[in-house]
Amino acid sequence: MKWGVVAFPGSCDERDAAYAVGSVIGDDVAMLWHGDADTKGVDAIILPGGFSYGDYLRCGAMARFSPVMRAVAEHAKSGGPVFGICNGFQILCEAGLLPGALVRNRSLRFICQNVGVRVESTDTAFTAACEKGEVLSIPVKHGEGCFVASEGELERLEREGRIVFRYADGAPNGSLCDIAGVSNEAGNVVGLMPHPEHAVDPLLGSDDAVVLFRSVHAWLTKTKLRRQA
C-alpha cells in the first residue's frame, strides 16, 4: 500500500512519520505538499506533528485552510484512512473532521514524556490489529494536548465507541476523560495526541506503535472485501 505524509510549513515530524511507515513498516510513501490539492492516489494519509504555519494563531487553525486539506477531506469522505498525530489531530479538529478541540495543557507547560496509551476501540483504521485494552508505550510531546468537548459530545463519543485511546495512568495534559485519541463515525479518521511514529524502533525505546500502522493493512483488506460483497 501507499501512504501520503503531508508536509505543512512548520511540520516537524513528517520525516519521522515517513520513516515509520516507509523504512520500518516497509510500505510506499509519498510526501504531500501543503500547497497542492492532490493526494497522489495514496491509500492512507498521515497529518504529522509539528507547528504548522508556526501555530501562531490557534494550533491547526491556519493549516485547515491549506489546499491539501481539501483533498484530505475528500479522501476522508470516501472512506480513506486519515491519521492525525498531535498537530495533525489539532488540524483535523479545526477542519471539523473530528469532534472536540485541543487546548493548552493544564500545567501551561510543554510536556515531553513516555506514557501508557490504552486502546479502547479496535473498530478503526488504526487499531484494527490491536487488542482491546492493550496498553502501548508511546511518547507525548505537546503544549496544547488537553482534549475538550461538550458534555453531550463526550457522551456521544463514549456511546458510539469513538474514544479510541485513553492515557492509561492519567492524562499528563488534563484531557477530559483521559482521552488521548478519537475517531469519526466511520472509524477511518483517527486523531491521536501521542506520537506513534516515535515508538516503532526498540533501539529508540519502544516499538509498541508498529501495530497502529499495520492496522491499516487489515482495515483496507476488510473494507475492500466489504465493498466486493
Binding site: 515530524d13 520525516r15 509539528g50 493548552r104 515531553c112 503544549g143 511514529e197
Partner: protein, 755 residues
C-alpha cells in the same frame, strides 16, 4: 542609556558612546585616513567589539590544540567539523546568549538556540541534537524563578518548534550568577564530509543574496553594547537590543538552505548573527580576501524608514547571506520562494578588498575588510593571580552528620543535585527519530543512520572547582565531559568551548581566563582531542562583581555500533555494582561542603588525566564488548548520590557495603575525578576485573542491585548507615525544581505551544 546612539557629527566622544576607546578611535582615523562617516563608526564599533573581534582573548586562544586527524574544520568558521567515518561528518558549536537572557529570558534564550542552529546548518549540516548549559543565581534570589521559567520555556519554545531534539544539558544554581545568568546553547549537525560549506567569499561579480526575515530595529548594538560591556542597573533599559525569535521562519530557512546546498550554486554562506549584515559581509569577504559591495536600497525592511545605520547593525533573526555563482540567482531564488522566504540580490563581490555600502546612490561605507577583522585591535591585557590565599579546610570543624540516611535525602533534594525532570520534560527529545539516550543521564546519545554508529554529547563545567583553581578546575571540566561520554560507550572526538568570564579589563579575570586556557589545552593534549569551535563571553559582571569563571566544555564522542550503548539506569535482573578507578574523595570544592556547610575549602579535588583516560577507555571498551549496559560517572555529590541516581533512573534498589578508613560523610559525599560505577551481570564480574587489571584501573566490588530501597552498610562495624525507600527519596529528589520554578514571580512571555 538608549538602545543606539543618535546620529550626529562623528568625533571621539561619539566613538566612546559606541563603546570604542580613544586609542581605538585614533586607529580608525589611521585606517581610513579621514574621519569615518556615522555608518562607518557603527560598523567599526560592532566589528571591533569584544564579542566580534575577540580582541582580549585571541592571543590566548592560540594555545588551544585545534587540529587533529579527524578535524575537517577547526575554529574560525561558523562551526567546527569532525570526521565520524562512513563519509559523514559531525558539525557542532556552543555559544553564549547570557546578557539578552537575563534582560528578556524567553526571547534571549530562544534566539540563543536560533543563532547556534544557523551556525550549524550554514555548514550544510542538518541539525540533529541540541543541548544547553544554564546557570542561575541562588534559588531564593527574587529573580531566579522568573528567569528559570522564562529561559527553559524559551529554549523549548524555539527548539521544539524548529523540530530539533534537545537531548541533554546542565542546570545549576549559585549566588555568583544572581545578576548575570549564563545561557549557553549547543547544536550538533550531520553532513556528508564532502558537502561541508564554508563562509569564504570569492569570484568578482558574483551576486550576494539576502535571504530570510525582513530587517527590523531589533538587536541594534546587541554585540557591541550589550554583550561587550558590564551589566549595570540601566542595562534593563536595553531590552530593545534583545532580538525576537521566529522559530517558524527558522524551520523554513533550514529546509530551504539545505535544499539550496544540495546543488552547486553556493560559493559561500553565513548567517547574520551578532552585528548582522555587517559582520556576515565583512567576515565572508575577509576570509576570501575579496571586497563586497552592498546596495542597502535592496534590503527587505520591516519598517520602511529604517536608516542605513540601522540596516547595517540590526540583529534581526532568521536571516542569511549567500554568495552564489553568477547566473544561479534565479535557481536559488526559486527554492527560497517555494518556502515563502524573501530572497533578493543585495550586493556583489568586488576585487577592491573593501567593505562598501551604498544607499540612495551615495557610498556611505568604504572600509578595507581586513581593517575590520585581522587588523582589529588585539590586547595583551594585564593579569594578576589572587594575592590572598583561601583558608584551608579544617575537617574537624565540619560536624559529622549523625543520620546519614537523612543527609542523603537532603542532598538529593538540594537545588544542584535534585532531578532536572521539570526542565527537560519541556524539551522535545524525540523529534528526528534518532535519540537513543534521552536527557536525565550523563550524556545524550543520537544514532547516525548513515553509518550505523551513534554520537554522544555532553556539556560540563564545575565552576566551583574553576573558582578555586582555574587550571585544575578547567581540566576537571574536560575530564568530566570525557567521562560522561565514556560511560555511554563513546570515545571523545572533539570539543567546543564556551568561555564565560567577567571583565577582561580586570587583571584577576584575565588571570583566570589564561589559566583556564592552559588547563583546557593540557587536558586536550592528554585525551588527544582538539577544540574545533567555541565562543568567548567576557563582561559577565554586574555592579562590579564578576561571575564565577565558567569555561563550559561541550564534547562529542563516537560510538561505533549504535546497538552497543549504556545508560545510567540499572539493568532489570540482579547485577553486581563495581566501582572502577582510584579517585580519592575529598570535601574540598564538593557540593556537600557548599550546600550543607556553606564552605568551599581552598582547592578542588586533584586531577590525574592519564588515569582518567585509562579508566574511560576501559569503560567504553566494556560497553562496546556488551559486558556493561549500565554505567555512571561519580561526580557532584559523590558516591552516594551517583548510586542513588542509578537507582532512581531504573526504579531498582541497591545494597552496597563499604570499608571506611576515614569519615563516612567524606566517603559518601566527597568528590574526586576518576571514578565510574558500573553494574555487571554476576557471571561477568571476573572478566571486568581482569580487563581492568590489564588497563591498570583499580576495581572495588561494592554490592548488588535489587529491591526497592537504597542501603549502605558499614562493613567493619557491621551496621546499616543508610536504609531508605526509593520512592520516598524520589519524591524529595523531584520536588525541588518545581518548587523553585513556582515561587511567586511575574510570568515570562507565553511559551510557544502547539504539537
Amino acid at each position: 542609556m538608549t538602545a543606539a546612539p543618535a546620529m550626529r557629527q562623528v568625533d571621539e566622544s561619539l566613538a566612546i558612546e559606541h563603546g570604542l576607546s580613544p586609542d581605538e578611535y585614533r586607529d580608525i582615523l589611521g585606517h581610513l585616513g579621514r574621519v569615518p562617516t556615522f555608518e562607518e563608526l557603527g560598523v567599526f564599533s560592532v566589528m571591533w567589539s569584544e564579542h566580534c573581534s575577540y580582541k582580549s582573548s585571541r592571543m590566548h586562544l592560540r594555545r588551544l590544540p585545534q587540529s587533529g586527524k579527524a578535524v575537517l574544520q577547526g575554529p574560525g568558521e561558523n562551526a567546527g567539523a569532525v570526521d565520524i567515518g562512513g563519509g559523514m561528518a559531525a558539525v557542532f558549536k556552543i555559544e553564549s546568549h547570557n546578557h539578552p537572557s537575563y534582560i528578556e529570558p524567553y526571547q534571549g534564550a530562544a534566539t540563543g538556540v536560533g543563532g547556534i542552529l544557523r551556525d550549524v546548518f550554514t555548514m550544510g549540516a542538518r541539525p540533529v541534537a541540541n543541548m544547553n548549559s544554564l546557570r542561575f543565581g541562588s534559588p531564593d534570589h527574587e529573580k531566579t524563578p522568573f528567569l528559570l521559567r522564562g529561559v527553559v520555556a524559551g529554549i523549548g519554545g524555539y527548539g521544539n518548534s524548529v523540530g530539533v531534539a534537545t537531548v541533554g544539558g546542565e542546570v545549576s544554581f549559585d549566588a555568583g550568577y544572581n545578576g548575570n545568568i549564563l545561557v549557553n546553547a549547543f547544536t550538533l549537525g550531520i553532513v556528508r564530509a564532502d558537502r561541508i560549506f564554508r563562509a569564504v567569499a570569492s569570484g568578482t561579480g558574483n551576486p550576494v543574496l539576502y535571504v530570510g526575515s525582513k530587517t527590523g530595529r531589533d538587536g541594534i548594538h546587541g554585540a557591541s553594547l550589550l554583550a561587550s560591556s558590564e551589566f549595570k542597573e540601566e542595562s534593563e533599559q536595553m531590552r530593545p537590543t534583545v532580538q525576537v525569535g521566529d522559530p517558524f521562519t527558522e524551520s523554513l530557512l533550514i529546509e530551504a538552505c539545505l535544499e539550496v546546498l544540495e546543488g552547486d550554486d553556493v560559493v559561500a554562506i553565513q548567517d547574520m548573527g551578532a552585528a548582522g549584515l555587517t559582520s556576515s559581509s565583512v567576515e565572508m569577504a575577509s576570509r576570501g580576501e575579496v571586497g563586497i559591495r552592498l546596495d542597502l536600497d535592496r534590503i527587505p525592511l520591516r519598517e520602511a524608514d529604517l536608516t542605513p545605520y540601522e540596516m547595517l547593525l540590526s540583529e534581526s533573526q532568521e536571516r542569511m547571506l549567500l554568495v552564489v555563482h553568477k547566473g544561479a540567482e534565479e535557481r536559488v531564488t526559486k527554492i527560497f520562494t517555494k518556502w515563502g522566504l524573501d530572497c533578493v540580490v543585495a550586493g556583489t563581490i568586488t576585487e577592491t578588498g573593501r567593505f562598501e555600502a551604498a544607499f540612495h546612490g551615495k557610498m556611505l561605507v568604504s572600509i578595507p575588510a581586513a581593517a575590520l577583522t585581522d587588523a582589529a585591535p588585539k590586547y595583551d591585557r594585564p593579569m594578576a593571580a589572587p594575592s590572598a590565599k583561601l583558608p584551608a579546610l579544617k575537617l574537624e570543624e565540619i560536624p559529622e552528620p549523625s543520620d546519614l540516611g537523612a543527609e542523603l535525602a537532603e542532598m538529593l533534594a538540594s537545588p544542584n543535585l535534585s532531578s532536572r525532570r521539570w526542565v527537560y520534560e519541556q524539551y522535545d527529545s524525540y523529534v528526528g527519530a534518532n535519540t537513543i539516550v534521552h536527557p536525565g543521564g550523563d550524556a545524550g546519545v543520537v544514532r547516525v543512520r548513515e553509518t550505523g554508529g551513534a554520537l554522544a554529547l555532553t556539556c560540563d563545567c564545575n565552576s566551583r572547582y574553576v573558582s578555586l583553581d582555574p587550571y585544575v578546575g578547567t581540566q576537571h571540566a574536560v575530564a568530566e565531559a570525557a567521562r560522561n561520554l565514556y560511560v555511554t560507550g563513546a570515545r571523545p572526538l572533539a570539543l567546543s568551548d564556551c568561555l564565560n568570564f567577567g571583565s577582561p579589563e580586570k587583571p584577576h579575570v584575565m588571570w583566570q581566563f589564561s589559566r583556564a586556557i592552559d588547563g583546557m589545552a593540557d587536558a586536550c593534549h592528554a585525551y588527544e582531542i582538539p577544540v574545533i569551535s567555541g565562543n568567548v563571553s567576557f563582561y559577565n559582571d554586574t555592579q562590579g562583581a564578576s561571575i564565577p569563571p565558567t569555561p563550559t566544555v561541550a564534547m562529542v564522542g563516537l560510538i561505533a555500533d549504535a546497538r552497543r550503548t549504556a545508560s545510567i539506569a540499572f539493568p532489570d535482573g540482579e547485577a553486581e555494582i563495581l566501582l572502577l578507578g582510584s579517585g580519592e574523595p575529598v570535601l574540598e570544592g564538593s557540593e556537600y561542603l557548599a550546600f550543607r556547610h556553606g564552605k568551599t575549602g581552598d582547592r578542588p579535588p586533584a586531577v590525574d588525566l592519564a588515569a582518567e583516560r585509562r579508566l574511560g577507555e576501559l569503560c567504553a571498551g566494556l560497553i562496546a564488548a556488551g559486558v556493561v549496559t549500565s554505567a555512571h560517572d561519580v561526580a557532584d555529590g559523590g558516591l552516594a548520590i551517583a548510586i542513588s541516581e542509578m537507582c532512581l533512573a531504573s526504579g531498582v534498589g541497591s545494597l552496597i557495603s563499604l570499608e571506611f578508613s576515614g569519615r563516612a560523610d567524606v566517603a559518601l559525599f566527597g568528590e574526586s575525578g576518576t571514578r565510574i560505577l558500573v553494574a555487571v551481570p554476576a557471571g561477568r564480574v571476573t572478566e571486568v576485573e581482569s580487563r581492568a587489571r590489564a588497563n591498570r584501573v583499580s576495581t572495588v566490588r561494592l554490592g548488588t542491585t535489587g529491591g526497592d530501597t537504597i542501603r549502605i552498610r558499614d562493613l567493619k562495624a557491621d551496621r546499616m548507615l543508610v536504609e531508605a525507600r526509593l520512592e520516598t527519596l524520589r519524591s524529595r529528589w523531584e520536588e525541588t525544581l518545581p518548587a523553585i520554578s513556582h515561587a511567586d514571580a511575574p510570568e515570562p512571555a507565553r511559551a510557544s505551544a502547539g504539537g
